[in-house]
Symmetry: C2
């Protein structure tokens, strides 16, 4: 039970976040300095192990239980013609996940992660944000709590992804409301819009921003107005992971936008999270830059489903294998610097 | 047996390279278009599977046997004070590889690759290239043939890496001779030079380039003059893999420079190779740009040993798992684009 029953509960959790374990991170860095390699020469692999240890609170990090959560939602704004695919695809892809036929299933098997898919009221799309708030406060809080409660109490790493036809439109509008700019700055082609579709998507985003006087709303309200249930759930899950001592890999554009309100309200709120992959979706690079986050991978992917997050687990596994398995200079009888 | 007994043999092999299998690549692209994802949304994962199939000559690529070869050599130019570590470390690190204590051992285990380390006359360093050619023609051809012959006749993927104190100096001088510029353009801090060391390294490179009138030598001669045995072996192994139908992952700066003479002599000679990781070593990004190659990973690593190449195997495994395991739109009953 999350105990999140209102926006006030959510704000209270966010104002009181656990800090990372600096002594675990320092012990990891000290061991890294003795391993048989030039100082710092494993680059981000070393940073990532220290990050795992800091947020797991362990001098010897683990990746025994890697959990991938994929939240799915439907979006009223799809009626405006903002996606290359019909809304029916959301529930069909959830079934595909459940039968093991999607990309995320194969990647999870490849990297040794467990997958759970959580559909959120797919029969009841959020409202079209050009007409009214996508969610009522009650709907928003319910979706946040669903995400919060889906996080296992014990995991070594949590990957967060999403599925929802139309949700790059929601994510773009949310990013615009949080960071300024409009459809021109944030909208991309999503699942494959043509030029006319992209122009329509930009106009829809701009109409929503104008309708809701977006530059005056607070970050959680922006998530309620423009987001979707799967975005709200990712926000809740990111917060829960912080409280449970679980490092988080955010997948791509939608997942990053979903979690961004946390960082707008509390600048350190995403310190336990990495962005796993820089999406080819247009707005993601700029969003990561605004948040001061450098994604781990950059492979032109733009699929969602948690695919980039799960893929980057393999980098973390190799990084941890180096940390745990390498000999020190002393053990190996290798001369140190001249 | 390579049958490479002279520079003329090597030039003859290089002038007569097998082409890739376009029909295998086309069949792979056709299947990718039917899988349950927006067209192209797995980005480089899709490209990499098509590349594997093209150079394996298989419509259904495999990664059952992934072989990592690490060549080691010693460099007379180390006497000029161009490395932060003493030359003794090369043989000590080879012993560390053989005992399983280095980063590459852990990464190979993590990604399911087999490792073979091949020391090349470590007791007899190459000559100091500021005084004379690093290798005689006979020494160069012998090292190329050692690399050529080390490639297994049957493998699904070959990762090429190196170990050799001083070899970023050789690689920088080689890159300069092939592509222009001098120490300022190509030298980096290697295993961790300070400012004075870096200035010394640049001056040593420039002295070598002047001594050998580098801008008038042909690419294979440049490898003989400035390279080392492990660089020559990587050149030979890259060529052998092409002839055996084995795609290649080149590790980092040194491995890329080592293979670069092939591309200077025959523009398509590295089409069966990817650069696995963009090294933090200063010259690598520019070298990849000159060769028109975009590395797969960019994680601030600068270790060598084949570490970046082996790490990127995990990306290829996930890519192949998606290709082989995903359902098509028809199979999954997912609606196509609206």
């Amino acid at each position: 039970m999350s105990g999140i029953a209102s926006l006030a509960d959510l704000r209270a959790r966010l104002a009181d976040l656990p800090e990372g374990d600096n002594s675990a991170a320092a012990a990891i860095a000290e061991r890294q300095s003795r391993l048989t390699k030039p100082l710092g020469s494993l680059g981000r692999l070393e940073e990532l192990v220290a990050w795992l240890g800091r947020w797991q609170g362990r001098e010897t990090p683990r990746l025994d239980e890697v959990s991938v959560l994929v939240f799915a939602g439907n979006h009223g704004v799809v009626a405006r013609g903002v996606s290359a695919y019909p809304a029916s695809v959301t529930v069909q892809m959830v079934a595909n996940f459940e039968r093991g036929g999607a990309a995320i299933n194969q990647i999870c098997k490849s990297v040794g992660a467990s997958l759970r898919v959580i559909p959120l009221n797919l029969d009841a799309p959020t409202a079209d944000f050009t007409e009214r708030e996508a969610m009522t406060e009650a709907e928003f809080v319910e979706a946040v709590a669903a995400g919060y409660d889906a996080v296992p109490a014990r995991a070594d790493l949590l990957c967060l992804g999403e599925m929802g036809i139309g949700n790059t439109t929601s994510a773009s509008a949310l990013a615009a409301a949080l960071l300024g700019g409009g459809g021109e700055r944030w909208a991309g082609r999503g699942t494959g819009l043509d030029d006319a579709g992209l122009a329509r998507k930009r106009a829809v985003i701009d109409a929503g921003l104008t309708r809701h006087k977006s530059h005056h709303v607070d970050p959680l309200a922006a998530s309620m107005i423009f987001g979707g249930r799967e975005l709200a759930a990712i926000l809740g899950a990111t917060l829960a992971a912080r409280r449970h001592g679980i490092p988080v890999l955010l997948d791509g554009f939608v997942a990053t936008a979903a979690a961004a309100p946390l960082a707008r309200l509390n600048p350190g709120a995403l310190d336990h999270a990495q962005v796993a992959h820089c999406s080819a979706e247009a707005g993601h690079r700029g969003l990561c830059a605004e948040l001061g986050i450098r994604p781990i991978l950059d492979l032109d992917m733009r699929l969602g489903e948690g695919s980039g997050a799960a893929l980057s687990v393999s980098v973390l596994r190799a990084a941890l294998a180096c940390h745990l398995g390498m000999a020190t200079f002393d053990e190996a009888g290798v001369d140190e610097r001249g």
